[in-house]
Amino acid sequence: MSTHIGTKDQAARTVRVQRRPGRRTFRFRRWAGWLFALPALAFYGFFNLRAILQSVQYSFYEWNGIGASTFVGLQNYIDVFTQPELLRPLINAFYLILFFTVIPVLFGLVAAATMRTMEGRFTGALARTLLFLPQIIPGAAAAVAWSWMYSNNGVINQVLRAVGLDSLTRAWLGDFDYALSAVGFIGTWLSTGLCTLLLISGIGKIDTALYEAARLDGANAVQQFLNVTVPGLRRELGVCVTVTIISALASFDVVYLATQGGPGGTTMVPGVQVYLLAFNDARLGAACALAVVLAVLIVAIIVPLQRLFQERES
């Protein structure tokens, strides 16, 4: 993208040089262009950027939202990394990446690689529609749907009983050992369709000559997959991984409606903990510190990933 902008910049610059006489009016016009950007800047500045900066500011204070606030320096941040109730949600969030990202992307990759050998259009319109569905409905509704799936009389237990695994049946979302994985699996449900469709549409764009060449070089199916398919899907993989990691780390709706972080905090995630700290426990400073840590973690993971997936493109 940046290379594209670069060439256009140069083009504009050469045009500008040619039009020396009108340069002053041109410059004025360029500043006047800000009139177009001002409304966006105002809304963004006031309701987005200012809120972010204020969160950073609040994170250095102890404040219950009403009374006076006390400056506590880095104490809130120390708390985030030492108090189990604040650290645990962060660890849980990383565990959720397995379900939100790893499983859907691997499934999508395998599905796409298998579909490649098929000529023509891969899916009927129906399959496509169904794969998109989880992407359309709100996460909150997905949580309600899956709470029912996981309940004592729900589909999961029903299926287990049908195949004779009665001993495994349980109220999944209330189980200390399985609740977090069960919540994560809702994320698998949310991400799998989109990842699969993205990767399938990406694999269709890979030049078939590359596969021919690989085959002539004696590459077997696995080698073709690793050397042609995966590099060819770099861009789509980058998208799937980025989007799903963000939704795993910043998850709120699904967890809040499915478990509220319970039982016993086993499914607590940063999003829900920030909300509870701020609006239940009136610990606004700690809430903001946790939110800032979460934001920094997300950026620290996403930026290198973006680099990794875009590297060879230019």
Partner: protein, 299 residues
């Protein structure tokens, strides 16, 4: 996934059974396709099972304890009417539509204008503004909720739709400007050059040349924004106490905590609450699929 193997295998085998003329070539082609088709069918079944399970539960007699997936002998369609009234769907529809109408058109207009200023007019410091937007694009909503609550309270807009609409417009800006910028950098530079030589003002060239060309990009962005606004949850929960003034997704929380024990009514109500987006999706499927795939790539 093992759970889904049996139904998927059954459905997947259907195409080969109905294959026209057992020509050896098509048969082997189909055999090659089978694993792929099975995977896709498995994923599709996986996507729909929770919703079907909700539907069968919603049709069970009220007060009964439904089983996961079993079509009720006597489907109680009127459960949906009861849930419609209990969940206050009419009011919620109005509230959600009001919020979408408040957020989406303004967001579209001002983000398109800003992207035009940055990409086409090349306003001074425009790149810096853009980088700032890009920097905040990946930040989670969680980092804004505490100060936003304070701000909206100071504005006296807590518990009103306007108090949700204004922050949502601000929060939409990074993605929206990013999206429109991606469109504008692909429009040929000669377009604006030609028009400025003609003496057309920036506004005229925006209105008559760039806006019509940007229509496809704007409409996909509009669809994505409709979806994200309609599904707004966290912010609605924080800024609006009265569930009837929230978005439908936001109201789901109140409905769930109220009827958590009434499985039949809960599922019927939840289905009603998610029906509007599903219906809009089915109507505009082509556009939605394109926007979602494209949106993911751009985001």
């Amino acid at each position: 996934m093992t759970v889904l193997n049996s139904p998927s295998a059954r459905t997947a085998s259907r195409p080969s059974a109905t294959a026209p003329r057992t020509n050896r070539a098509t048969a082997s082609k189909l055999r090659g396709r089978l694993p792929g088709i099975m995977l896709i069918v498995a994923a599709a079944v996986f996507s729909i099972v929770p919703l079907i399970s909700m539907l069968t539960a919603a049709l069970a007699p009220q007060g009964s304890i439904p089983q996961g997936l079993s079509w009720p002998a006597d489907p109680q369609w009127h459960n949906f009417i009861d849930a419609w009234n209990v969940a206050n769907i009419t009011v919620l529809l109005q509230s959600s539509i009001l919020i979408v109408l408040g957020v989406v058109p303004i967001s579209l207009l001002i983000s398109t204008m800003a992207a035009y200023a940055i990409a086409v007019l090349r306003i001074p410091l425009g790149r810096i503004f853009f980088l700032l937007l890009l920097l905040t694009l990946t930040l989670p909503y969680e980092i804004t909720i505490v100060p936003l609550y304070q701000q909206v309270r100071e504005l006296g807009l807590l518990d009103s739709q306007l108090g949700l609409i204004l922050p949502l417009i601000g929060l939409n800006m990074p993605f929206a400007v990013f999206w429109m910028n991606a469109h504008f950098v692909t429009t040929p530079a000669e377009l604006s050059e030609a028009s400025s030589i003609d003496g057309a003002s920036a506004w005229k060239s925006f209105l008559h040349i760039h806006l019509p060309l940007a229509k496809p990009a704007i409409s996909s962005l509009g669809l994505l924004m409709f979806l994200s606004t309609w599904n707004t949850f966290l912010l609605a929960l924080v800024l609006i106490n009265d569930p009837d003034k929230r978005t439908m997704a936001g109201a789901l929380q109140a409905f769930q905590s109220k009827y958590s024990t009434d499985i039949v009514l809960l599922n019927a109500g939840a289905l009603l609450l998610m029906a509007p987006t599903i219906i809009v999706f089915l109507l505009l499927q082509k556009q939605f699929s394109a926007a979602l795939l494209q949106g993911a790539v751009k985001g």
